[in-house]
Symmetry: C2
Subunit: 109 residues, 2 copies
């Protein structure tokens, strides 16, 4: 799997507000059951389950089964590719500004 696919999955996964809110709650409040998450999600339980499945597939959460309930928790390390990507973009930006040749090239065109 290419890194760009990982980035794509991350951006796509976090692009949905409901899904991002679920992930944020897990980051803020720690492990939660599907029921607890549903209670304040503003959408139905199947929708919550679906979103959690997508978050899991992106590596952003993990699940732990305990009896008949499933506990979800945030996997913060999964955000690393996103941080890397932004750093990379910032790096390109800076190197272009520090590179006199490119600067002159742009003034020349």
């Amino acid at each position: 799997m290419l890194m760009s696919d990982t980035q794509d999955a991350l951006f796509k996964t976090l692009a949905d507000p409901t899904r991002r809110a679920l992930f944020e709650r897990l980051c803020r409040e720690g492990e939660k059951t599907v029921g607890a998450l549903t209670a304040r999600a503003g959408v139905s339980q199947p929708v919550v389950s679906k979103h959690l499945g997508i978050l899991k597939q992106a590596g952003l959460v993990r699940d732990r089964h305990e009896g008949r309930q499933t506990h979800y928790s945030a996997q913060l390390g999964a955000l690393a590719p996103l941080v890397d990507w932004t750093s990379e973009m910032a790096g390109f930006w800076q190197s272009r500004f520090n590179d006199l040749e490119d600067l002159l090239k742009r003034m020349d065109q």
Copy 2:
């Protein structure tokens, strides 16, 4: 405009691979015309223009008109809310971990 709206716009804007590729090229290679971008985008010129419009609306690029061509360039500062968000999530994570650490320390005594 709320910050969460900004984050939403950023994530949504960068979720599309074609759009993200355009932004990446502008970060890597600096200012480009629509024509230059279209030449390697793999999609038609109107599609490129549309994506650039969306990137502009999200504050990720700016445009400069020169004669009959439009030059686009990346506005890296627009990524700040994204960096802030990831930092915030990491912060919640860390503080919860520290709370747990403190709790365990107290239980240990």
